[in-house]
């Protein structure tokens, strides 16, 4: 471990000490590229950090840090190892602690609450989400941009389906850690995309893994992104309480959202200062689903009986995935599907950055950040692609909304390929519905 790691651990915000002012972060920042309002990661991060501290008026006298979308590209690019985006996020949390937060931010961060409210009245709520007048009203009163990417509510949550199907929520006697995984579905699957959850479970089970879904809540990332750390800590603590026992017993925790899994792997410790043994055990046990499938394949345990999908699909690896530092496992998996050609978007950020792209005052920035990506996706569609692929939900919604091209999770494509193979084998497996 280098000193920087130690410093980052002992004095989290002190990783900024390593900044040599080289400007690499400024050259890669997608936000400062499109707006002069944001002075760039170097300024709001390591530079401003030296001026924040207790004193007259406010500890954090700046607000431009709030324009940081939190994509984390700066942190990855920094040759000195400064946790730039994390420093910015902590600074934002400091501002929120001092000055409070808007109702809008508190609301859009509380996905568990939104799902609880929205699911029972899904048809009605979804009309509202599509209704121009309602959205206009939402922008004026709440500050949620009328064209911000919001996914429709599912009529039934993933968890409700799981319960109805009487599927396992805890370990059964004689469970084997190498053959059983814990699924962390996240709010997106629970409230908006339960089909993705079913695709994931289908694939995992097909590959011989038992899937259990113990109690869990939103990972807390939306609260983290909006600087609402106390709320995020509540969520994190409850998740750790539920998940740590499995992690300690050697079970893997697998997720279909690269954002949630990154929160479990990194943010709980780096931002929320939850650095206890539970947090470490959970972080070490957490896998992104594609990462896990590639691991199975590396061991020769993945069913490679994929049916051909003759299509060229644009694939956008989201920022959060890149922060995992696991390469692009979805690309490796796509390569196993005969006929499928996945084209890396080769674009840094879609702009959504969780809830950033929803906010009335940030929407245009988010659109500008993602514009080259949307153009590429549209061009791919014109060339015959039926859809795009991306591992993170808010990015998917942003791409779909802004390019008009349906955008799915990589495992949905894999699941489709498996199903086609089953159909071809004339003895179709039961599809999870």
């Amino acid at each position: 471990m280098t000193f920087h790691d130690a410093a980052a651990r002992d004095f989290p915000a002190f990783s900024t000490d390593a900044c040599i002012k080289c400007n690499v972060c400024n050259t890669v920042c997608p936000v400062s590229r499109v707006t002069d309002e944001f002075p760039g990661p170097k300024y709001v991060g390591p530079q401003a950090q030296r001026f924040r501290g207790p004193g007259e008026g406010s500890d954090a006298p700046d607000h431009s840090v709030d324009l940081c979308s939190g994509c984390g590209i700066c942190t990855r690019a920094c040759p000195a190892g400064v946790l730039i985006a994390e420093t910015n996020n902590r600074a934002r949390a400091g501002i929120v602690e001092e000055r409070g937060s808007s109702l809008r931010n508190r609301l859009i961060s509380d996905t568990d609450l939104l799902i609880r409210l929205g699911t029972p009245v899904a048809p009605l709520a979804n009309i509202g989400l599509k209704n121009r007048l309602a959205r206009w009203f939402g922008e004026k009163t709440l500050g949620v941009h009328r064209r911000g990417p919001l996914a429709p509510f599912s009529r039934r949550t993933f968890r409700a389906w799981w319960k109805r199907e009487k599927r396992p929520t805890a370990l059964e006697a004689g469970s084997d850690p190498s053959r059983t995984v814990v699924y962390f579905h996240g709010c997106a699957v629970n409230g908006f995309e339960p089909d993705l959850g079913r695709d994931a479970v289908e694939i995992l089970e097909r590959n011989g893994l038992t899937v259990i879904v113990p109690p869990q809540e939103c990972c807390g990332l939306p609260f983290i992104s909006n600087g609402l750390y106390p709320r995020a800590r509540e969520k994190a603590r409850r998740n750790l309480e539920s998940l740590a026992q499995y992690a300690r017993a050697g079970y893997r925790i697998v997720g279909t959202s690269t954002s949630c899994t990154h929160a479990l792997k990194a943010e709980y410790r780096e931002m929320l200062d939850l650095a206890d043994d539970d947090a470490t055990a959970v972080a070490d046990a957490t896998w992104d689903i594609c990462e896990l499938l590639v691991d199975l394949h590396d061991r020769g345990e993945l069913d490679t009986g994929f049916a051909p999908i003759a299509e060229s699909i644009p694939y956008h690896p989201p920022c959060q995935l890149k922060s995992h530092g696991i390469g692009l496992p979805a690309m490796d998996l796509f390569a196993l599907v005969p006929g499928l050609r996945a084209v890396d978007s080769d674009h840094d950020c879609c702009g959504a950055a969780g809830t950033y792209g929803l906010k009335a005052e940030r929407w245009q920035i988010a659109q500008d950040v993602g514009a080259p990506l949307f153009a590429k996706v549209r061009a791919a569609k014109a060339a015959g692609a039926s859809r795009a692929a991306c591992d993170s939900e808010t990015c998917r919604w942003q791409i779909e909304q802004s390019s008009g091209v349906p955008t799915v999770h990589p495992v949905s494509i894999l699941a489709e390929s498996y199903r086609r193979a089953d159909e071809a084998a004339s003895e179709p497996r039961r599809r999870l519905v």
């Binding site: 130690a6 002190f14 000490d17 002012k21 309002e37 530079q47 401003a48 001026f51 500890d59």
Partner: protein, 538 residues
């Protein structure tokens, strides 16, 4: 005023003390001029620890100093709030600090008039989370951070408002003396142009700090200084919100002072050094870090921006006490001392003011001015404690977040920063140049903090040099101001002086980047001495 005299009093030395003397003389209606061989506050006053003492540090070792400190602490808060960050201070007892000192401390403070308050440890650690958990007791004291350049600047400006003049880059090179031995004039030389000038006067105050012995010698008087070198380390950021002192008799790395964006750990104390040769040694750095660990565990792994040293203006106590007939106390204090060289050495009209603290600069000025004014038949009272100094720009009292808030208020991201680390805008630098058109980059640094952050000038030096050059091109630069190439090179050398002793870790990486920018990209090694072709030829 006798015929030929240009002023009543010449003040030698443009540190805090000299500036204070000039102000006091002027406020009493005496005509006075100050000469300083370098930039104002470039001697010990600009190379000190940054602490507005409560006096608690000296309650046992030097009760007179302690009393002076607490009294002047209150005065400065009143007359110069814009130069003070009221951080407060703690005295903390580590396991290595003696129990009996801890026991005696509150009573000793009370006796000196210094308010202390015991602080529960959980409260201490909440306020100062990086402090060692081995600390076993803590007291709150009225310490603060004191900004020396603004203080000296404000004091000189006040003196000017009262009719005095002050000249920098003007060194004293000798004296003209009357037949009776008393000084009649001060001979000076402009250190940049070499031009010499003699200033006739009725009296001279030597406020040359650690150099006061040299000045006395030039006048044929006797004053043995034993300057004490003190070295300090500047860290990249604050580790504490308040001043942290060890609850023990004064030692090496036992005070941590938050100063603007950084914190300063110090100091060592090594006697008998030439005040012009204050080099920080490896041994001192190791000692400071080892002691710092007791206050903030892990500090020796943190980023150090530079090391620097100052020279304490300590006098040889035995020599001075022999002549100190008017000294009421038998106890020899390390507090300040006024020396009347007429009475002692037969050099009439010359007084030296030595010892003291930056915190007590006004009191020192008052005491020597009392003596000089009396000799010149002036009985106006001292008013320096009553009249506030002109306000420096910015917040009052000063506040860490000031610059960040100001830039945000101006629209944030579009601020035109010359020095990114210390948030020095082009406007701020231009204003400083407008005020003093003959400034070198190092002079600009002192009043603006240019180049004082983590990159130590790597990025701002070329930008600032370009500003100098543009001003020279349109005739707005003083003829004595250095050419941009020279300014760039000498500033780089000056910054390197402080980074070389601590060239490890992050700062070494930074140095390599700096070297790459300067030698590689800019080719500074190959720069001509002069930027302007015509000038170079002439």
């Amino acid at each position: 005023m006798p015929a030929g005299a240009e002023v009543d009093v010449v003040v030698i030395g443009g540190g805090a003390t000299g500036a204070g003397v000039l102000r006091d003389l002027a406020m009493r209606g005496l005509s006075a001029t100050l000469v300083e061989r370098g930039d104002f506050a470039s001697g010990t006053s600009g190379r000190y620890h940054g602490l507005l003492h409560s006096g608690a540090r000296y309650v046992e070792s030097d009760p007179i100093s302690a009393r002076h400190c607490i009294e002047e602490n209150a005065v400065l808060r009143r007359i110069a709030p814009g130069t003070i960050e009221p951080t407060g201070g703690y005295f903390v007892a580590t396991p290595d600090d003696p129990d009996d000192y801890l026991d005696r401390f509150p009573a000793a403070c009370a006796k000196a008039g210094i308010e202390t308050e015991p602080v529960p440890l959980d409260e201490l650690f909440r306020a100062e989370p990086l402090l060692s958990r081995e600390i076993r007791a803590a007291y709150r004291v009225p310490d603060a951070a004191l900004e020396p350049w603004e203080l000296v600047d404000g004091t000189l400006n006040s003196a000017r408002e009262h009719g005095a003049t002050a000249h920098r880059y003007r060194a004293v090179i000798g004296f003209e003396r009357d037949a009776d031995g008393s000084v009649a004039a001060v001979m000076t030389r402009d250190t940049r142009t070499g031009e010499e000038e003699t200033i006739a006067c009725r009296a001279v105050v030597s406020a040359a700090g650690a150099w006061a012995g040299q000045i006395a010698e030039l006048a044929g008087a006797r004053l043995t200084m034993s300057p004490g070198k003190g070295s300090m380390l500047i860290f990249n950021r604050r580790f504490s919100t308040a001043v942290i002192n060890r609850l023990a008799p004064p030692g090496d790395g036992d005070i941590l002072v938050p100063v603007h964006t950084v914190c300063i750990l110090g100091t060592t104390d090594i006697t008998g050094e030439d005040p012009d040769d204050a080099v920080v040694t490896e041994e001192e750095i190791s000692a400071l870090l080892a002691d710092g660990e007791r206050l903030v565990p892990g500090i020796s792994g943190a980023r150090v921006l530079r090391a620097y040293a100052g020279s304490r203006p300590l006098y040889d106590a035995d020599e001075v006490s022999g002549a100190a007939s008017h000294d009421e106390s038998r106890e020899i204090s390390r507090a300040h001392h006024v020396i009347d060289h007429g009475a002692r050495d037969g050099v009439g009209g010359l007084w030296s003011i030595v010892g003291g603290k930056l915190t007590t600069y006004r009191l020192m000025a008052r005491d020597v001015t009392d003596a000089v004014a009396a000799a010149l038949g002036n009985d106006a009272p001292c008013r320096t404690a009553d009249e506030p100094l002109p306000e420096p720009a910015g917040h009052s009292p000063y506040w860490l977040g000031d610059r960040l808030a100001a830039i945000e208020a101006e629209g944030g991201g579009d601020a035109d920063l010359v020095c990114e680390c210390e948030l020095v805008t082009r406007q701020r630098l231009a204003d400083a140049l407008d005020r003093r058109a003959d400034s070198s980059l190092d002079d600009l640094r002192r009043t603006t903090r240019l180049g004082m952050g983590p990159c130590q000038g790597a990025f701002c030096m070329p930008r600032a040099a370009a500003m100098l050059d543009a001003r020279r091109a349109d005739g707005r630069l003083h003829p004595a101001a250095p050419d941009a190439n020279v300014a760039l090179r000498s500033f780089a050398a000056e910054r390197l002086r402080g980074t070389r002793p601590i060239a490890w870790g992050d700062q070494l990486t930074e140095l390599f980047l700096t070297a790459g920018i300067f030698r590689g990209t800019l080719g500074t090694d190959a720069l001509p001495e002069h930027t302007g072709g015509d000038d170079a030829a002439s």
